[in-house]
């Protein structure tokens, strides 16, 4: 059983890192701020979510698992709140043609 949990952890963590790499690559390569924000939120939400998902079976007590989910929830809440704010500033600086 623990082998399955370890395999699940490895798979999720590697997938999470893949999303982080994709998000960072998008952040570097995309032409304008709007698309960079688009790439960034993908890395934030999915990358961290997969890593948290992968670490859930390793969390020792129920409290540990709740803390991991709380972290992911906070990051989702934070970037949902700040994403539009940043987009509005980027919009004001160079309005789409």
């Amino acid at each position: 059983m623990s082998l399955l949990a370890d395999a699940f952890t490895v798979f999720c963590v590697v997938a999470g890192i893949g999303f982080f790499a994709a998000g960072t690559a998008g952040l570097l390569r995309f032409p304008d701020t709007g698309s960079r924000l688009h790439a960034l939120t993908k890395a934030d939400h999915l990358g961290l979510g997969l890593i948290v998902l992968g670490l859930l079976p390793r969390a020792e007590a129920l409290g540990g698992a709740f803390r991991l989910l709380a972290i992911w929830g906070l990051v989702l809440l934070a970037s949902a709140a700040t994403g539009p704010l940043l987009a509005r500033i980027a919009q004001r600086r160079d309005p789409p043609a």
Partner: protein, 84 residues
């Protein structure tokens, strides 16, 4: 298994370094703050992986604190947008 998580934490830190490039190069303030927010999340992920590798719960608490504090930089920047 724990060394694998350590390697994963290191990989996440590498993406963090790449994100720094955008902080330096970003033409607009919004790019820099977006990259800073990504660095916060990357830091959280690295902390979680490192904590899992070492097997101590304090890293999770640290990551939770970072998750709470990270958005304030963005909010502070948005409210006092330079050149406004």
């Amino acid at each position: 298994m724990s060394s694998l998580l350590g390697v994963a934490a290191f990989a996440v830190l590498l993406t963090l370094l790449l994100g720094l490039v955008r902080v330096l190069r970003g033409p607009q303030a919004a790019d820099r703050i977006a990259a800073a927010q990504l660095l916060g999340t990357t830091g959280i992920a690295a902390l979680l992986l490192w904590g899992a590798a070492v097997g101590s719960a304090t890293h999770t608490d640290l990551a939770l604190t970072l998750a709470v504090l990270a958005p304030f930089a963005t909010i502070a920047m948005v409210r006092k947008e330079p050149g406004e």
